[in-house]
Symmetry: C2
Subunit: 106 residues, 2 copies
Amino acid sequence: MGDNLFDAIDETIHAKARLGIMSLLAVHGQCDFKFLRDELQLTEGNLGNHIRVLEQAGYIDVQKTFVGRRPKTICSPTELGMNMFQQYIEGLERIIRMAQPPHRKS
Amino acid sequence: MGDNLFDAIDETIHAKARLGIMSLLAVHGQCDFKFLRDELQLTEGNLGNHIRVLEQAGYIDVQKTFVGRRPKTICSPTELGMNMFQQYIEGLERIIRMAQPPHRKS
C-alpha cells in the first residue's frame, strides 16, 4: 500500500457532516441552509459550524439574503471545492478498490 | 436523497486513522502494531487510541505476545468488524454514486 492512499483523504471534507454537505452541493449545485439541516438531520448550530469550516477553506460560498422578513442562507460550492471533492471521491474509490475483499459477494 | 444515506457511515470506522487500520486488516487479515504505525504514519500513542476504539467496539482483536524479549502486538479483524467494514464500504459506494457529477471525466 502506498503512503499516499490515506493522505488523499481531505479531513475538511471527510467529517461525516461535511461529506454530507459537499455531496448535496455536488448534486444540487446550491442548497438552502434549512434544506441541508433537514436532509442531514443536524442542529442549526452544528450545521453552521461545518459550513464555516467549508467556507473558510474556500470550498463553498455562503450568501445571506432575505425572503420577505425571513433570512435565507444559500450555500454553493466553489470551483476549488468541487475540485477537492472530486479528488476526495477518487481517493475513496482507490481505498475501496484496495480494501475490497476478493471473495466479496456482489 | 434518503435520510439513511449518511446514517450508514459508521463513525467508528469513518475516522481517517481507523479507516486506514480497517482497510489494512481487510487486505492483510492481521497486522502487527509497528506495521500499522509505519503504513499509516501515526504516533504510537495515536495508533494505540484508535486501536482501543476498534477493540472496544468489538471490531478487532488485539493479542500481545513477546518475540524474545520484544513485545509484539497483533491486531486482527473480528467477524463483526469485517461485516461492519463491508457495510461501511457499501455505504460509501452509495454516496459516491449519488454525488458523482454526471459530466465527470473518466
